[in-house]
C-alpha cells in the first residue's frame, strides 16, 4: 500500500510540470521520438536478420571461390555462372530428390499415423491418458545422441542404412509424437458439440472422427504436415550419418560437401544455399501464420 502511494506521488512530481502544458495524447499515440526509436530498432533488427542471407546471395554472384575476401570486386564481375554450374555439374537434383522423398515420406507417415491419436487425446479421457501425454512430450526432447547409436546398429542389421526408408523411419520417431501434439491442439479448438451431434445421429466414434472432424481439421493437418516437412528437410545429424552414397545425400548433407578440409568452394556453396533457400522460404511465408498459431495455441492440460 504505502509503496504505491510513494510511487504515484513521485511520478506526479516528476512528470507534472513537464506534461501539463502539452496537448493530451490519446491512447496508441506516441511522441515523435518514441516512433523514431521504434523504427530505428526495427530497421536495425531487420538488417541484422536479413544480412547473412543477403550476403550469401551476394557472394553467390561472385565467380571465384575467394571472392568473399574482396567482396567489393564482385560488383564488377557479377555472373550467374555459379548457378548454372551447380545445376549442371553437381548432384543438386539428386540431393533435391532425396530431400523431397524423405521429407514427404515423413510428412505423410507422420500425419497419417498421428491423426487418430490427436483426436483420441483431444476428446477422450482413458486410463493411462496422462502417462501417454507424458510419453509424447518426452519423445520430443530426445537428443539426437540417444537414438542415433542404437538406430545405426538396428538399421545396419536390417540393411536400411543408406536407404530413404531408413531415414524416413528415423524421422518418424520425432515427427509422429510431434504431429500428435499439434493435432491435439487443433482438435481442441473444434467444438465438442459437433461430436455430440454426430454421436446423437448414430455415428460411431470412428465415424465422427472420419466424417465430421477430419474435414474440419484440414488447416490443422496442413500445419502438422508442414511442420514435419520442415523439420525433416532441415535435419542434419541423422542425414549426415546415415546417408553414405553421395547420390542419396539430402540437401543438408550435400551442402556440406562444398567445404572440405582441403578445399572450400564457397561460391558454389553460396549458390546452392540460395537455390535451397528460395523455395523453402517462399513456402514458409505462405503458411507461417497458421504455423505459429499451431505451435503455441495447442494448449493442453497435460
Amino acid at each position: 500500500m504505502s509503496t504505491t502511494t510513494v510511487e504515484t506521488s513521485a511520478a506526479v512530481t516528476d512528470d507534472g510540470p513537464a506534461r501539463r502544458p502539452r496537448r493530451i495524447r490519446g491512447r496508441e499515440e506516441r511522441s515523435l521520438a518514441a516512433s523514431l526509436a521504434s523504427h530505428g530498432i526495427l530497421i536495425a533488427g531487420s538488417v541484422v536478420a536479413l544480412f547473412p542471407v543477403g550476403w550469401l546471395v551476394f557472394l553467390s554472384l561472385g565467380p571465384d571461390e575467394d571472392d568473399y575476401l574482396h567482396p567489393g570486386g564482385i560488383w564488377k564481375k557479377m555472373t550467374f555462372d555459379n548457378y548454372s554450374f551447380v545445376l549442371q555439374h553437381t548432384s543438386f537434383f539428386d540431393w533435391l530428390k532425396s530431400s523431397l522423398i524423405v521429407s514427404l515420406g515423413t510428412t505423410v507417415l507422420g500425419v497419417l499415423v498421428a491423426a487418430t491419436t490427436g483426436y483420441a487425446v483431444s476428446r477422450m479421457r482413458f486410463p493411462g491418458y496422462r502417462k501417454f501425454m507424458w510419453v509424447l512430450l518426452v519423445t520430443q526432447m530426445f537428443p539426437v545422441a540417444v537414438l542415433m547409436v542404437p538406430m545405426y546398429q538396428i538399421l545396419s542389421d536390417l540393411g536400411l542404412i543408406d536407404s530413404y526408408l531408413g531415414l524416413i523411419l528415423v524421422y518418424c520417431s520425432t515427427a509422429v509424437p510431434y504431429c500428435a501434439w499439434l493435432l491435439k491442439g487443433y482438435f481442441d479448438t473444434i467444438p465438442f458439440e459437433i461430436d455430440e451431434a454426430g454421436r446423437v445421429d448414430g455415428l460411431s466414434p470412428f465415424g465422427t472422427f472420419a466424417r465430421l472432424i477430419l474435414p474440419l481439421a484440414k488447416p490443422g493437418l496442413a500445419v502438422a504436415a508442414f511442420y514435419s516437412f520442415i523439420t525433416a528437410f532441415g535435419e542434419v545429424a541423422f542425414a549426415t550419418t546415415f546417408m553414405l552414397d553421395d547420390q542419396k545425400y539430402t540437401l543438408a548433407v550435400g551442402l556440406q560437401t562444398f567445404i572440405s578440409e582441403h578445399d572450400a568452394q564457397r561460391n558454389l556453396m553460396a549458390a546452392t544455399a540460395v537455390l535451397i533457400a528460395i523455395p523453402v522460404s517462399v513456402f514458409f511465408y505462405l503458411v507461417q501464420k497458421n504455423l505459429v498459431a499451431g505451435l503455441t495455441a495447442g494448449g493442453t492440460k497435460g
Binding site: W55, L56, T139, P143, A145, V146, P150, I154, E261, A277
Partner: protein, 335 residues
C-alpha cells in the same frame, strides 16, 4: 456403449465408487475405452518400434563396451559377429568420475548449461523486445514482421553456412571490425570466440520463433485491461509489469521450455559452424556425443549412447521440475 467424452473436465481417476476386482476392471475398461485405445494404437505401435525398442537397445549398449571395432559388421562378403561384452555401469562411472572426466564431460556439461541459459535468455529478451515494438500501431509493421522472421524461414543448415563465411578470417565481419579499428578475433579458432560465435549465431536463428509466439501472446491480451490500467493512472512500466507480464505468462512458460529443450539439443548450429572435428571445446554435449560415436575412429558407440542417456535424463529431470514448479504456481503448460 458409454461415451467417454467428458470435455476435459479434469476428472481424475479414482473418484469412482468401490473398485471391483482386477479382471472385472480390465473388462470394464476395455468395454468403455476400446475405441480410445484403438485410436492411439498406431502411435503406440510406431513409438514402441521406433523409439522404445532403440531406446532399450541403446540402454543395453551403454552397459557394454561396444565400438566400431567389435560390433557386428559386414566387410565385403564377410560377416563379422559382434564381440563386445557386458561391462555394467562402467561407462557411466567413467564418464562421470573417471580420469579426465572433467575435460571429457563436466567442462562440456558446464558449457552446455551456460549455452542453454544464455541463448534462451537472449532469445527471450530480444524476442520480447521486438514483439513489444511490433505490437504498437506502426507504419510498415507487416513488412518489419516479414523481414524479422527471415532467419526462421530459411533453413538453419543454409544460414549457418552464411555465418561461417562471414565469420571466417578475412570475412565481412572481421573486415568491418578492421575498418572500425577494433580487434579482429579469429571466430572459428579461439575457444572463447568460438563460443561467442556459436551463441551469436544461435541467437540469430532462434529469436524469430520467440518473437512471433510472444507477439501472438501480446495480441491475445484484452485491450480493455490496458484501458483500465491507464484509467487508474498506471505508468507505462506499471502497465507492462502488471498487465503484459501476467498476460504473457502461459505463452512464456511454454516457449521458454521449448526453447530450453531445443537449445540444449541444438545440433546443427555448432556442428555446421565448426565442422565435425575442429573446436573440441566449443562442442555442447549433443555434438560431443555425436563426435564420440561417429566423428572419430574407432567409433565409440557405448560412450556415445551413454552420453545420450545422460542428456535425456537431464532433460527429463529438468522438465519434471519445471512442470511441478508451474503447477505450483497454478499454471498449465500449453504445448
Amino acid at each position: 456403449m458409454t461415451v467417454a467424452i467428458d470435455r476435459a473436465t479434469g476428472k481424475r481417476r479414482g473418484d469412482r465408487a468401490p473398485r471391483p476386482g482386477l479382471g472385472q476392471r480390465l473388462k470394464h475398461s476395455y468395454q468403455k475405452y476400446w475405441y480410445a485405445y484403438a485410436m492411439i494404437a498406431p502411435v503406440v505401435i510406431v513409438l514402441g518400434v521406433l523409439v522404445l525398442y532403440p531406446l532399450v537397445y541403446g540402454l543395453y549398449l551403454t552397459l557394454t563396451d561396444a565400438n566400431s571395432l567389435n560390433t557386428a559388421r559386414t566387410i565385403g562378403v564377410n560377416h563379422i559377429d559382434a564381440t563386445y561384452k557386458f561391462i555394467g555401469l562402467d561407462n557411466y562411472k567413467d564418464i562421470l568420475f573417471g580420469p579426465l572426466s572433467y575435460d571429457r564431460f563436466w567442462s562440456h556439461f558446464i558449457w552446455t548449461v551456460a549455452w542453454t541459459a544464455l541463448c534462451v535468455a537472449l532469445h527471450y529478451t530480444i524476442g520480447l523486445g521486438l514483439a513489444l515494438l511490433l505490437n504498437q500501431k506502426l507504419r510498415g509493421r507487416t513488412l518489419y514482421r516479414l523481414l524479422l522472421i527471415v532467419p526462421w524461414a530459411v533453413p538453419t543448415f543454409v544460414t549457418v553456412f552464411g555465418w561461417r563465411i562471414m565469420l571466417s578470417d578475412g570475412g565481412i565481419i572481421n573486415s568491418f571490425l578492421h575498418m572500425l579499428h577494433l580487434p579482429q578475433p579469429s571466430w572459428l579458432e579461439d575457444t572463447f570466440w568460438q563460443r561467442f560465435a556459436a551463441i551469436m549465431v544461435n541467437t540469430w536463428c532462434g529469436v524469430p520463433f520467440m518473437m512471433i509466439s510472444l507477439l501472438g501472446g501480446l495480441q491475445s491480451i484484452d485491450a480493455s485491461l490496458y484501458e483500465a490500467a491507464e484509467m487508474d493512472g498506471a505508468s507505462a512500466w506499471q502497465r507492462f509489469r502488471y498487465v503484459t507480464v501476467p498476460g504473457l505468462r502461459s505463452v512464456s512458460s511454454t516457449v521458454v521450455l521449448l526453447g530450453i529443450i531445443w537449445t540444449f539439443n541444438q545440433f546443427a548450429v555448432i556442428f555446421l559452424l565448426f565442422g565435425p572435428t575442429s573446436a573440441p571445446d566449443a562442442q555442447i554435449l549433443v555434438t560431443w556425443a555425436y563426435y564420440l560415436g561417429f566423428g572419430q575412429q574407432p567409433r565409440d558407440f557405448a560412450q556415445s549412447a551413454s552420453y545420450g542417456i545422460l542428456l535425456l535424463a537431464v532433460l527429463i529431470v529438468f522438465t519434471s521440475f519445471y512442470r511441478r514448479w508451474l503447477n505450483r504456481n497454478e499454471q498449465q503448460l500449453a504445448i
